[in-house]
Subunit: 350 residues, 2 copies
Amino acid sequence: MASFDLAQHPHRRFNPLTGDWLLVSPHRALRPWQGQQEAPDRSQRPAYDPTCYLCPGNTRANGSVNPQYDGTFVFDNDFAALTPDAPTGTVELGSLLRAEAESGVGRVICFSPRHDLTLPEMSTADIRRVVDVWADEFQTLGSRPDINYVQIFENKGQVMGCSNPHPHGQIWAQRTVPGDPAKETVQQEAYFQQHGRTLLTDYLEIELREQKRVVLENEHFVVLVPFWAAWPFETLVVPRRAVQDITQLTEAERDSFADAIRRLTIRYDNLFQTSFPYSAGLHQRPTDGQGHESWHLHMHFFPPLLRSATVRKFMVGYELLANPQRDITPEYAAERLRDLPEVHYKQTMA
Amino acid sequence: MASFDLAQHPHRRFNPLTGDWLLVSPHRALRPWQGQQEAPDRSQRPAYDPTCYLCPGNTRANGSVNPQYDGTFVFDNDFAALTPDAPTGTVELGSLLRAEAESGVGRVICFSPRHDLTLPEMSTADIRRVVDVWADEFQTLGSRPDINYVQIFENKGQVMGCSNPHPHGQIWAQRTVPGDPAKETVQQEAYFQQHGRTLLTDYLEIELREQKRVVLENEHFVVLVPFWAAWPFETLVVPRRAVQDITQLTEAERDSFADAIRRLTIRYDNLFQTSFPYSAGLHQRPTDGQGHESWHLHMHFFPPLLRSATVRKFMVGYELLANPQRDITPEYAAERLRDLPEVHYKQTMA
Ligand SMILES: O=P(O)(O)O[C@H]1O[C@H](CO)[C@@H](O)[C@H](O)[C@H]1O
Ligand SMILES: O=P(O)(O)O[C@H]1O[C@H](CO)[C@@H](O)[C@H](O)[C@H]1O
């Protein structure tokens, strides 16, 4: 019998950041696909769209008028899932029906006044302005006594539920620490107690030695497909230095962060020559006033496309009921991304 | 200030089956939607499709020919994510890179020879045959020493990654217990230790008293929108009697199960007058040879549609990075489903 080979044989991988397992079925990558095809985003958008509620100078649903901003623009979400002034209280019926009031803030961040751009089409300097806004927002929201966690994220592309193509992200900040960051807190804390270094410091060291899953590096950041990636081309963007949150990054590190995001998202667009959809977001320390020295800031990219601009991975029956599952291996995905050019395909098509 | 009201104010709910929390934002249901629209399934399918690899008498990708079956038909998945003869082994690099070989079996179950039907369009007697196949398969697979968990599920609709509209489900059975059933095992065990009854026995008692979240009942089964439902119209199908797995259901209980599935899925189709997409599946005891008296068989339905046949809920940025989130309340969803007729809309359109 052949000996066990991660590149060929079904196996499970452990995610040390969450404590969960993932099922990998490498042999299944060649399965034919007759199901749903996504519409690739080939739309040509104007630099300014008079009907877009995020463009400069336009009026939003609640009557507010956007300023004539020329860098980034941040405002309170007009349809926020969380509100600061929500009534407090709990409902308990035995130990089985339990609810408690939640409060928080929803913010929207326009990355650029240009309706026709996305992060990979922006300059490093302009992405750096987005990084600075993330840091400022984390600082302001995180110092409020009623906010104990700040989730910064972006949904890109219709397939990821994004309802407006104008380049923008969101922040949901709230009183309690949500499930995933709470898990990562427990796991990182346990590792730090045992080893005296952050989990991601030691993990980076292994990956930089092996190189198999590294996509790109710069002075202060590494982008890799984690060993436990669930989405086909999922990546992790990690600063080499263990910082707990984005406000602790130096000027040079912020530039490196912007550079890493730009080079990664250009590779994503180049992979299937389409505006590559994803959900992405930062994970950082809870803002509950504790030290959290075990926390190591990082950014996750969860992109759904699997084989082409139109064939995606579905996290459905088995995945919703039992366990996340992937077909192509993380090593293969990293190799594909590594081999791509860092000039955006639209620029070479001129 | 208004007092805390589950129907109006943002809050978190606890899921006692998994131990996770859910964010509920009831006030957000009126948010306008300008994003992706799904294509509703209005296809008229023929009773037999010569190009369908699941129809009776047709040839599959691997050259096998389907029998001229006239009830259900079960076979090994030609592109199974799990294989029984996979090499065993582990890979470990410190505590951070950990993988282990996994083995198992993938099965496909055709619910009917009719290419143009779905569960809600089949008779109760025909659905009962599907229930019997599930029980037989659980029995056979579950008694194998190399199988410790049997996941039975159905992906329905293109939006749920289903690649063939012929009515069918799947089974992935494997050596280890996957994440979600493992969590449910821990939670149910802890509850049983403390209370001497299964968690779902006590939960059913509360719901039957309150009635607010009950969708339908019959002699042996209850269908409800659980207090902690994450998907807009998510439901739980629970036998009144605590059984650990489907093989323990009596003849009468199996009939009741088929009746509950039929009546629920008809209501689903009637909700937006479309073939309602979902992923659904059974959760039952691990087949690891232990008693698992704390386990209470149940079936989850996870349907994505939110407001119409074309507007779905996206579990994306915040949900992937932080926590599941819903807009409409479970109580509202139950009321909508409860108020629907149990005659399929296609039959009243004749
Ligand atoms: O096996 P199928 O129907 O081809 O595939 C479908 O169900 C599987 C199990 O939930 C998923 O892993 C796939 O992503 C989905 O497309
Ligand atoms: O706030 P948006 O962009 O309207 O909404 C989008 O992102 C949210 C946060 O991930 C999700 O809850 C919604 O389902 C999705 O459509």
